[in-house]
């Protein structure tokens, strides 16, 4: 069998990015929780917040370490496996990546040291500042990488021009060498899809972070261990999870409308929508791309038209307006998109139910529900990954999307044959993006090695995580109280609230 260097490189990228993406949402989501806990500790001086912060920092550090270890692979891989892509996008994409290093990675890594090792070395105030810096670092990091990725979906602020050699276009074997160059930096950053995508990514991170905390807290509650700690963590995380789950639905809707505007073939692949015209919303079916139609489709008539245009009979561009070689594969985006949406709906129902029970004060008696929360982190993570898979596979066959053109009335500017023909010079196809210097055998070797090592790392991660969870937070020596309005002014009476024998201040 002939090994395909493109397929292998794509598989390797998929493997390494999906393994990596287990960790950033956890750290981004948990960094927010840490800022909250340390802020509350400084404000109220209640021991429970300090104990909680110390516990979650330990978990945070484990996740962060694997995020760093698996993240560095990504940065190297553009050059090792996608050299032609790197030459084409370096001027634009490289800048965002370098900015991520300078603005985000230093901030995170340097202040993480204070977070983990600094408890006895710096004042609580400085520790709090360090926590904020780590949280900011993780947020900055997500901004720059989503800028770079969004530009690949909806290029803006850049143009594609011939590479010059001695002032002349560089031509090799009759082919003019081209690349993307920055024209307008701010337009590049605020490219059309960036805003909706970064919000959706953040919400996804908050959901994962919150459900991670919920899972561990629910497990403590079921075991009857660290109950006070677990109840507080659970309540806080539940609020975050409820708001984030609802927000994901809203943000997802607006993001999908942007996708339709700039990448109609991608939305058509998400929805298994083949024939241009008024469109039903497929709930579940089997997209048969060879036959260019859905099979066994259960659909809401006019649903997709309504979601895209707010009208049930408005036509929606289908895959039939694209040549077969320009269509993204449908099967993977269709099902991963459905998985994401289904899980999202499930999480909304789950968090609303739990919030209602919590409000009535009977939540912790529903053991079955706590078990659901122990396990719910898994679908929450799957949904995050599925969303990315849908987004990136839906962009195919492009690695840098060639823009679609629209007529004045908003319909797709199709050619004489009734299909839209992309301008090949305005994008880069994935198939043309790999490294010419690298053989399929080399990629197979590295792919297998990464696969084996990631299984190992995943195992070690779970083992250490489990060990830390079993050990649990330190016992609380002073009973905690719930906050009243007086606490608003507690900073005026710091001395009164400062518990006796608190050594961490000195």
């Amino acid at each position: 069998m002939e090994l395909d260097v493109i397929l292998l490189s794509r598989l390797q990228f998929a493997l390494t990015i999906m393994f990596h993406y287990i960790f950033p949402p956890l750290t981004i989501g948990m960094a927010i929780v840490l800022v909250y806990l340390e802020g509350m500790y400084l404000w109220t001086r209640q021991e429970i917040y300090e104990v909680a912060a110390k516990f979650w920092v330990k978990i945070f550090a484990i996740n962060f370490a694997l995020g760093v270890a698996s993240g560095i692979v990504m940065e190297f891989q553009f050059g090792t496996n996608w050299a032609t892509y790197s030459r084409f996008v370096g001027d634009v994409f490289g800048s965002a990546l370098a900015a991520e290093g300078i603005f985000a990675f230093f901030l995170e890594s340097v202040f993480l040291a204070v977070l983990v090792f600094g408890w006895d070395r710096v004042s609580p105030r400085f520790h709090f500042v360090a926590t904020i810096m780590v949280a900011l670092g993780s947020i900055f990091s997500s901004i720059w990488i989503v800028v770079a990725n969004s530009w690949q979906h909806t290029p803006a602020g850049s143009h594609i021009v011939p590479i010059l050699r001695d002032g002349e276009p560089w031509i090799i074997d009759g082919v003019t060498q081209t690349r993307a160059e920055i024209v307008d930096f701010w337009a590049l950053i605020f490219n059309p899809s960036f805003g909706h995508r970064i919000v959706h990514v953040w919400i996804g991170c908050f959901i994962v972070g919150a459900f991670f905390v919920l899972s561990i807290s629910a497990w403590y509650l079921l075991r009857g261990k660290h109950v006070e700690f677990a109840q507080r963590s659970f309540t806080g995380a539940l609020m975050l999870a409820t708001v984030a789950s609802l927000a994901a639905l809203v943000s997802g809707h607006f993001q999908a409308k942007t996708v339709y505007q700039y990448q109609p073939a991608k939305l058509a692949a998400f929805e298994g929508h083949f024939d241009t015209g008024p469109a039903a919303l497929s709930l579940l079916g089997w997209p048969d791309q060879a036959a260019q139609r859905m099979r066994f489709d259960l659909a809401v008539p006019g649903g997709l038209s309504f979601l895209v245009h707010e009208r049930f009979d408005e036509p929606v561009v289908g895959l039939d307006q694209f040549r077969l070689e320009d269509q993204p594969p449908v099967l993977v985006p269709y099902f991963s998109y459905r998985l994401m949406v289904a899980v999202g709906m499930g999480l909304i129902a789950l968090t609303l139910l739990a919030s209602w029970l919590r409000w009535r004060g009977v939540l912790y008696e529903r053991r079955w529900l706590l078990w659901v929360f122990v396990l719910a982190i898994l679908p929450a993570m799957f949904a995050n990954h599925a969303g990315w898979v849908a987004a990136e596979v839906g962009r195919q066959p492009w690695v840098v999307q060639s823009p679609v053109q629209r007529n004045d009335d908003g319909t797709l500017a199709v050619g004489a044959e009734g299909v839209f023909v992309y301008d090949e010079g305005q994008g880069l196809r994935t198939a043309d993006a790999v490294s010419p210097a690298v053989s399929a055998g080399q990629v197979l070797g590295s792919l297998v090695t990464f696969g084996a090592i990631y299984v190992l790392l995943g195992g070690v991660w779970l083992y250490v995580l489990n060990y830390k969870i079993q050990t649990g937070p330190e016992p609380i020596t002073r009973p905690a109280r719930y906050l009243g309005w007086r606490d608003l002014f507690s900073f005026l009476r710091r001395k009164e609230h400062k518990p006796p024998g608190d050594a961490s201040e000195s």
């Binding site: 190297f76 050299a83 370096g90 370098a98 991520e100 300078i102 901030l107 983990v116 210097a437 090695t449």
Partner: protein
């Protein structure tokens, strides 16, 4: 006078890789010397001497790679795809190193800790070795085609000269790391490390002389830039003085000064590497006309300007809080409940 943005970025990349080699250099050295620690306590002292710092140090490499991608994408693409196998090995080493440092002390199991110790050692050895081999090949020149694509095979890159430079780099970080450990440890462990600092210096000096001789013999272009810019000799003299100062300081027990001297020596070696390649960023051999220069490999002037603004805004902060962290974790290593 017009700014030569390409030259500025060539220098800035030098600053980033020098920052990496000076800062991560000592924690790589600590890794290579790790098997010399005899007890679990000593190993933990070793690990915790770099505990709060190594991750931030590694970011210098990450930022170097990002800046190379942004400023000289042609060079980034050529080197990273051309040295595919070497860079995959480098990645594995970076992964294993991070995990073994971070997770070693989290599990109370002798076998586990021993695995982590050896993986920490191996990874710390491989990283400077590969960096040295890669640096040598960038100076020597690699077979490139008209588009700047690497057309050789990985095995061809392992020339005796490249391996010599690789070993030299390992010896350099070992010496740097041994001096660092003298700064951070106490008692018997420190006395042993001080002896080892001498051994490392001996090995380093031998390899330094060999590397210098072979470079002068094999790479006439390495010194070509000194003909046009004779003032560059100042750098060479500075390097020799810094190296000569190390045994003096070791003898008098002035470890801080010894550490500064070995840091300066590393800076000088990065300068010499840059001088040996300039104006190329990746030399091509046997077809020198395919070499990637700091002009042909670069991004557009717009991007280089934007990047310069980003670096100008960001790097002062980076340096500022790096200093704060080194200050916070100054002094001898103390183990507490939060240590590795």
């Amino acid at each position: 006078m017009e700014l030569d943005l390409n030259l500025i970025w060539f220098v800035l990349l030098g600053v980033l890789i020098a920052g990496y080699m000076v800062l991560d250099g000592f924690d790589l050295g600590v890794g290579v010397l790790h098997p010399l620690a005899r007890t679990d306590h000593e190993r933990r002292i070793s690990l915790n001497s770099i505990g709060p710092l190594w991750d931030g140090n590694e970011v210098w490499l990450v930022t170097f790679v990002g800046a190379l991608f942004a400023a000289f994408p042609e060079a980034y693409a050529t080197v990273f795809s051309g040295l595919y196998n070497a860079f995959m090995l480098l990645l594995l080493a970076l992964i294993f190193r991070a995990v073994s440092i971070e997770f070693r002390s989290k599990i109370q199991h002798r076998r586990w800790r021993s695995i982590c110790d050896w993986s920490f050692f191996g990874a710390s050895l491989i990283i400077p070795l590969i960096i040295g081999v890669a640096g040598a090949n960038i100076m020597l020149g690699m077979p490139l085609d008209e588009r700047g694509e690497f057309i050789g095979s990985t095995v061809d890159l392992l020339t005796p000269y490249a391996l010599l430079v690789g070993l030299f780099t390992v010896a350099l970080v070992m010496m740097h790391g041994a001096i660092y450990l003298c700064l951070k440890t106490e008692g018997a462990y420190r006395r042993r490390m001080r002896r080892w600092a001498w051994h490392c210096f001996g090995v380093f000096l031998t390899l330094y002389l060999l590397t210098t001789i072979f470079t002068l013999m094999m790479l006439p272009q390495a010194t070509a830039n000194f003909h046009d810019h004779p003032w560059g000799v100042v750098v060479v003299v500075l390097g020799v003085l810094a190296i000569a100062n190390i045994p003096r300081c070791l003898h008098h027990g002035r470890m801080g000064q010894a550490f500064a001297s070995s840091g300066v020596a590393i800076l000088v070696f990065v300068c010499l590497l840059a001088a040996a390649t300039f104006p190329n960023i990746v030399a091509s051999a046997p077809r020198p006309e395919h070499s990637l220069t700091i002009y042909s490999a670069a991004s557009s002037p717009t991007t280089l300007t934007i990047m310069l603004i980003i670096a100008g805004l960001g790097m002062p902060f980076v340096i500022g809080y790096t200093v704060v962290i080194y200050w916070t974790f100054r002094g001898k290593v103390r183990l507490d409940e939060h240590s590795y």
